[in-house]
């Protein structure tokens, strides 16, 4: 499942949703708001997204992960809005029979998300706010 939400991400609920008797390894990646960037102190981070397209790109990532690895359960959730330090902006859960597949599929999902999903973040520090320098998207077509 994939989701864009404006509410705090409930990691425990995502893990419950990923329970599967055929899974022997569950890999979770949690991206959190960090209190520093390039030597500056970050106070909070605001996320904006093109939600309809972001969902479609996240669905594409899940589909590709399932084609490449024997995934039993998978969740990709990204939060939008204003987040405080330490809050989760993105959570990816992958359950597979074996741990190596779970690690690889999880890594693939977050790395691809950063290259394809139309989401932007603005960093707030003591001097003001600035959009984080991003990357030009690498459309995911295969």
């Amino acid at each position: 499942m994939v989701e864009i939400t404006r509410q705090p991400i409930d990691v425990t609920a995502l893990l419950s949703g990923a329970e599967n008797p055929a899974a022997g390894g569950v890999c979770t990646f949690i991206g959190t708001v960090r209190n520093h960037a390039d030597g500056r102190t970050v106070m909070r981070m605001e996320y904006e997204g093109y939600a309809e397209m972001a969902v479609r790109e996240m669905e594409r990532i899940e589909k590709q992960a399932r084609e490449r690895w024997p995934v039993e359960e998978m969740a990709i959730v990204h939060r939008l809005g204003m987040l405080e330090i330490g809050e989760a902006s993105v959570v990816i859960v992958v359950a597979c029979a074996h741990r190596s597949d779970a690690f690889e599929a999880c890594r693939y999902a977050i790395d691809t998300l950063k290259k394809t999903v139309p989401i932007w973040k603005k960093e707030f520090d003591q001097d003001g706010a600035a959009w984080v320098e991003g990357v030009m998207p690498e459309p995911n077509r295969e």
Partner: protein, 81 residues
Amino acid sequence: MKVDVKLFAVLREIAGREQVTLELPEPVALAELFEQLSADHPGLMRYQTITSFALNGEYAEPATIVNDGDEVALIPPISGG
């Protein structure tokens, strides 16, 4: 013809709005559409080389032609995660 253009992040702030509806006499390429918008919002021009496009929710090349009723999005460099 009418085309809705969505703007995000830094481009949205420069234009001062989330969406613009353009009235165009004929179908145009995405790249030309960006130039037309830049005429109204000159601050956009410096982002021309780093802006990507989406057409109806899918990434599209700058040469792709936009037709009546299409939804275009201007996508500045992304920074999700």
